[in-house]
Structures are given as structure tokens and as C-alpha cells.
């Protein structure tokens, strides 16, 4: 159950990173905003990662995975819904949304090994960690590829907003499930490493 909830959240966590990458020029033409503003939506995720990775890792170690998921999940959800406010000639709210999503995204991105150690026996830790990382890669691939097939040069601002709405719904459901159902740790430590971590 924990793994299903976590993997489904990891599968949607990186969807918003490259939403505009494959439809860069279309968004630029349709919304009449500069190329830099469109590219910034993806660039913000790359900028946020080195800045927030270390402090967020400290927060996860200090307060635990669940509070991290709640903070990250809420930021991610607010961010992706804010992106719906993308208007012709104005991308400010969309950029703020991308920035919030970028900051929240890191909380879930950095946790495969922590979740694996807390919840699984030593033999299963590598495969669970790999599954978490693989989910992120699949999420990046789907997030970057799908917009190009659904949006074309004849699309209107409403079509793009509709796509952003569907994306926001797809992201929100698993993240809300993660926030509700994910528990910090099991009653009995699954490995010696987990036992040491639980007692710290």
C-alpha cells in the first residue's frame, strides 16, 4: 500500500517540469509571451534543485518524511493549479506556480532511498530505490512528451489551459493520496539500519 501510494506520487511529481518544453514556440505564439518566460517555467525547476536540495534534505532528516511530503505536496498542488492562470500577454502567475511546484517537487524527488530504508528489508532497499528513481524518469519523459502530441499550432489559449487543467488534476489525486495515506514508519523496523534510524 505504502509503495503503491509513493510510486503513484513519484510518477506524477515531475510531470510539470517540462510541460512547456515541447510546446515552447506554440505557447510563445498563442499567449504572446517572450521565449524566455516560457523557457523559465522549466528552468525554475533546474534552478530550484541545487538551491533547495540541501535544506530540504535537512528538513526531511530532522522532521521526517511525512511532514516533508505534506509541505512538498501542498506546494506542488498550489503551484500546478496557479499555472492555470496563464493569460495572453501575462505569465506572472504561471511562473509563480512553476516556482512553487519546483520548490515542492524536491521534497518527493529526494526521498526514494529514505522511504525504502524506513519501510523495506535490507534486500529490498535497492529495488525499491530503483523503482522510485525510475518513476521520476518516467514522469519526466511523459511530462515532456505528451504536450507535443496534444497541442499543435492550431491550438487556442483555452486548449492549452484545458491541458494544464487535466495535468493539474492528474497530479493532485496521487499527491493528496500520498498526504493522507503515507505513514512515517512501520511499527517494527524492517532492518538493522531502520532500527538505528528510528532510535535516533
Amino acid at each position: 500500500m505504502i509503495l503503491i501510494v509513493y510510486i503513484s506520487a513519484a510518477l506524477v511529481n515531475s510531470l510539470p517540469v517540462h510541460t512547456f518544453s515541447s510546446i515552447n514556440s506554440i505557447v510563445e505564439d498563442v499567449f504572446q509571451i517572450s521565449q524566455l518566460n516560457v523557457t523559465l517555467n522549466a528552468l525554475l525547476f533546474t534552478i530550484a534543485h541545487p538551491i533547495f536540495a540541501f535544506p530540504w534534505n535537512w528538513v526531511l532528516n530532522k522532521y521526517g518524511i511525512r511532514p516533508g511530503f505534506i509541505a512538498g505536496g501542498v506546494l506542488l498542488i498550489i503551484g500546478v493549479w496557479l499555472r492555470l492562470l496563464l493569460q495572453v500577454g501575462n505569465s506572472t502567475y504561471c511562473l509563480i506556480g512553476s516556482a512553487l511546484a519546483a520548490i515542492g517537487n524536491i521534497f518527493i524527488l529526494n526521498t526514494p532511498s529514505k522511504v525504502a530504508i524506513n519501510w523495506f528489508s535490507a534486500e529490498r532497499v535497492p529495488i525499491v530505490t530503483f523503482t522510485g528513481i525510475l518513476s521520476t524518469l518516467i514522469s519526466l519523459t511523459v511530462g515532456a512528451s505528451v504536450p507535443g502530441f496534444l497541442i499543435d499550432s492550431h491550438s487556442t489559449p483555452d486548449d492549452i489551459r484545458k491541458f494544464l487543467f487535466i495535468e493539474a488534476c492528474v497530479i493532485t489525486v496521487p499527491i493528496v493520496l500520498l498526504i493522507i495515506f503515507f505513514k512515517e514508519k512501520p511499527k517494527n523496523p524492517p532492518s538493522k539500519t531502520a532500527k538505528i534510524i528510528f532510535h535516533e
Binding site: N24, L43, L137, A144, S145, G148, S153
Partner: protein, 84 residues
């Protein structure tokens, strides 16, 4: 960690590889448009998807090669052949 030369080599190599991939993903659409292609959205999607899928599929292959041969330097060179 940062005084270990071998670690620094891997870190710099990975930074440049990942940085180049991210930058290419972000500007791929503009590059294709500049080259005169129409329907660049679909082309960019196919380009990004093929790169990522190849990465995902080659991951277990290179892991297997590393475990079997322990030839870390040779595998690193193969991974970076595209930059030659």
C-alpha cells in the same frame, strides 16, 4: 569528498552531462523551429521521449556491464561517446 579527485571527475562529468541534457530539452523546440521544421511540438516530444526511453533502457544494461566487468573507466567512456 571534494578533495577526492576521482569523485570530482565523476561529479563534473555528471554535471555536464545532465546540464547539457536539460538545456537541450528546454531549447529543442526552438532549435527545430529555427531549422525550418513545422509541427515542432510533436518532433520535440519524439526527440525527448526517445532520449529518455533510451536512458531508462540502457540503465540496467550499464549496471549489468559494471557488475560483470568492474571496468568503470571503460563504461564511463562508452557513456560519453556521444560528446566526441
Amino acid at each position: 569528498m571534494f578533495t577526492n579527485k576521482e569523485y570530482l571527475k565523476i561529479m563534473v562529468s555528471m554535471t555536464l552531462n545532465y546540464g547539457t541534457l536539460m538545456a537541450l530539452m528546454m531549447v529543442c523546440d526552438q532549435m527545430l523551429k529555427g531549422m525550418g521544421y513545422s509541427n515542432t511540438g510533436k518532433l520535440t516530444s519524439i526527440t525527448i521521449a526517445s532520449a529518455m526511453i533510451f536512458g531508462i533502457l540502457s540503465n540496467p544494461l550499464f549496471s549489468f556491464l559494471l557488475r560483470k566487468t568492474k571496468a568503470y573507466k571503460a563504461v564511463s567512456i562508452i557513456c560519453n561517446l556521444n560528446y566526441i
